[in-house]
Amino acid sequence: MIRFVPRERTPVWLTLAVSVGAGLVALLLTAIPLALSGAPVLQSFLFMVQGAAGSGFAFAETLTRATPLIFTGLAAAVAFRAKLWNIGAEGQLYAGALATVALGAGLLDLPSYLLVPTVLVGAALAGAALLLVPVFFKMRFGADEVVVTLLLNFVVLLFVQMMLEGPMKDEMALGWPQSAPVLDEATLPKLVPGLRLHWGLVLAVACAIGLHVLITRTVWGFRIRAVGENARAARYAGLPVSKAMALVGLLSGGLAGLAGASEVAGLKGYLTADLSPGFGYAGIVVATLANLSPLGVVPAAVFIAAVFVGADSMSRAIGVSNYLADLVVALSLLSVLVGGLLTRFRIVLVRREAA
């Protein structure tokens, strides 16, 4: 007989092991449909690993893909810590991207050292504003933020499409629905010449470190944790619950907005309606894999990015559909949720004595 005994505290190594183990289990489970489809399993995985980290170029590509995932992963992590279920990072990302082209594609004529920060702040504020609306509705009327943030994603995406077909359409783009390119002064420089890797990565890692310090070392971080773990007791203790939630909304939406700015100003150069292949949603997986730890978000984002980049490369090499990446991501989310059982409970085998 198996019994689940609640743990009083979870050792750090176990939390780490569960995250890493979940990724491995997901890959193992993916082998089943691979084998069923008749593809050579080991070779496929080899292609994936090579595609994701087989060369400096491949690894740089993985890090490029990880950059927006770090931002959206942090956005989910800080919100989920406070039990604010922000499913709207995708929309906030587009809001940030829209702000980036609005400010950086000719409206402001500033030197680079002023324009880049202006664009980043503008993008963060746009993402934050988009999340503060559901937070206000939640605090004031008890509206469910899952529904509101999720539906806002579609509203924002349609709004972006409208802008790209209308007022923000680039007349020089041969009829394609895309915005005018951001100015060189608004562009995030490349980290290494010749690679797509840009300063957005450095910014993302700095945000992870900053968020870690905020949550563990500051009064406001304490308040966020307290509100998330037990809002009733936090209110009883006189903590500013509404302000803490507003701060969480500001941080989470702002980080998702930065993901949009980083993609536009660091990588694409202009805005299209297919800027994000679901980075906002993948951020939820990243945060969960990281056990909501801001520092853990960085390796988790790199792992998820590696799966996507590796699967693309594999599909080019041996013709297995790159939808396999979605399968790995979904399975790792499920595995880490199951693994959560191990961090919360000790599993004890009880020997039954014969009657």
Binding site: E229, A237, E353
Partner: protein
């Protein structure tokens, strides 16, 4: 609250003439280095009510879990009489075997399916699920007979979620009787009952015992144990330290056996009255339709006195506590707290004014389980310069002060960095107490401050509250425990249906009067 007024006096013949139904011998259970049960032997005879006493962690739960097959004893045996009265060994580690052998238990937290009716709950597990709705005539007849014989009455036709706690408990007992139990274990059965319900439970239990049922009564309310039980077994630190007839035992002796040391008497020294710290004039809290509301309350509490608020919970104590704690605003009337008129719901403002609050539910309102002992200790004082500088937590200083509080208040925990949910209820309450008293509050709200605590922890809370009174704090003590109210309070006011009676001097007040007022009689009628 149990008065010895049962119509059926239990059979008082000495136990050796009655057949043995349950015999535990030499039970030992270890968890790692901890010896939870240390060679415990216990015999229970037919028709006998045996009390099992002990503080939290004394080993009561482990012993009962072994009896029920949830744990397997490392050493020792359990024998139980079969239908013919012959003792047979009970196989360990099997709940099915324990049920089949006639052991039934009513847990403190009921195990009823709330969406099923009383009848369905009673027969649940004895017939396949899909046949529940058919209501077999034989089963109905048996339940009706059991209700008649035992005097346990409950509405069996509605979902149990709609029944009162007392009725749910009666259904739990009927559920056990339906399975033809010979040994019935009641775990803290009166913790959730009103005094009247507890009285009726005692009557029932005595009647059942008179018919030959063996009852093990787990409780820490000593007066109940003495009124109801014939024999008292006391566990301490995993070992049985006493097994004696209840006749001739007194509360002080039993309490000392449980705690293992002499319990200092509570002494309420006269204290000088200070300025008013709480003044209510015609205060309403909560909408008129709400159950837990306050209507036209008048009260003046001064520094250096304790006013006790008696009443069955849910009669407005929650609203009064919420007002003082700052969770609710007065809807009407004038509320002055430490010289300031309180008009808004603002817990932070109450704290700043010098109010210390001990909430009723320390898990839900008083502590944040996932945070550490140190973090919970500074929860209310985060913004103070001793805890932060420029918004950065002074973690070393917080840890040092929490360690000091752990020493001062004798909080048993792995350390200041342990999550507070790992602590026992008593130690958790000590953290809350340390947090409240550290600020030297002028007004203390103590809402059920000792609920669920064992004797040692209760004594400690009482001592600290009296010490705070001695320093000049005014204390509003809301409690359902009349013993506690009479021991600590200078004056007592009674709450019923949202109305607060004038506060009466404890000297010359008798418990019967307060009991009648709790049931809704006016002071004149009750006197």
């Amino acid at each position: 609250m149990i008065a010895p007024t049962a119509p059926d006096q239990p059979d008082r013949t000495p136990h050796h003439t009655r057949p043995l139904v349950l015999s535990l011998s030499g039970i030992t259970k270890r968890f790692g280095n901890l010896v939870a049960n240390d060679v415990i032997s216990l015999d229970v005879h037919a028709g006998e009510i045996v009390a099992l006493l002990g503080e939290n962690g004394a080993g009561k739960t482990t012993l009962m879990s072994i009896l029920f097959g949830h744990y397997v004893a490392d050493e020792g045996t359990v024998h139980i009489a079969d239908a013919g009265g012959r003792l047979a060994p009970l196989p360990g580690g099997s709940a099915e075997a324990a049920l089949a052998a006639g052991i039934g238990m009513v847990h403190q937290h009921f195990t009823l399916a709330e969406n099923l009716t009383g009848f369905e709950n009673i027969v649940l597990g004895t017939v396949p699920l899909w046949r529940l709705g058919f209501g077999k005539a034989a089963a109905r007849a048996k339940v009706a007979r059991l209700m008649k014989e035992s005097g346990l009455e409950a509405d069996l036709g509605v979902p149990v979620g709609r029944l009162s706690v007392g009725e749910q408990q009666r259904i739990e007992i009927l559920k056990a009787l339906y399975r033809d139990v010979r040994v019935l274990i009641l775990d803290e059965p009166t913790a959730v009952l009103t005094p009247q319900e507890a009285d009726s439970l005692a009557t029932t239990v005595k009647a059942l015992a008179a018919k030959g049922l063996a009852v093990i009564f787990i409780s820490h309310k000593l007066h109940e144990v003495l009124a109801l039980c014939e024999r008292v077994a006391v566990l301490r630190g995993g070992a049985k330290v006493a097994d004696r007839p209840a006749a001739g035992a007194d509360r002080a002796t039993l309490a000392e056996l449980m705690v293992g040391r002499e319990i200092p008497a509570r002494e309420r020294m006269p204290a000088a009255l200070g300025a008013p710290v709480l003044h209510l004039a015609g205060v309403d809290v909560g909408a008129p339709g709400e159950r837990d509301r306050l209507e036209g309350a008048d009260l003046e509490l001064r520094g250096g006195e304790i006013i006790g608020i008696a009443g069955v919970s849910g009669n407005g104590q929650g609203a009064l506590a919420a007002l003082v704690a700052g969770l609710k605003a007065p809807r009407r009337g004038r509320c002055e707290i430490i010289g300031q008129v309180a008009t808004r719901a603002d817990p932070g403002a109450r704290l700043a004014a010098g109010v210390g609050r001990i909430p009723e539910d320390r898990h839900r309102d008083g502590t944040i389980g996932a945070l550490t002992v140190a973090e919970n200790y500074v929860l209310e004082t985060l913004a103070d310069p001793e805890n932060q500088r420029h918004g950065l937590l002074r973690r070393a200083a917080i840890r040092t002060r929490a360690s000091q509080a752990i020493r001062d208040y004798d909080i048993r925990c792995p350390g200041p960095e342990a999550p507070i949910r790992a602590l026992s209820g008593g130690n958790m309450q000590k953290v809350v107490l340390a947090r409240v008293l550290e600020r030297a509050p002028r007004l203390i709200l103590a809402h059920q401050p000792t609920r669920g605590l064992d004797i040692g922890a209760t004594t400690d809370v009482h001592r600290r509250l009296l010490a705070a009174r001695g320093r000049g704090a005014g204390i509003l003590l809301i409690s359902e425990d009349l013993d506690e109210l009479f021991a600590l309070s200078d004056r007592i006011a009674v709450m019923h249906a949202g109305h607060l009676s004038p506060a009466m001097d404890v000297a010359g007040l008798d418990m019967r009067t307060v009991g009648l007022m709790m049931a809704g009689h006016s002071a004149e009628e009750a006197a």
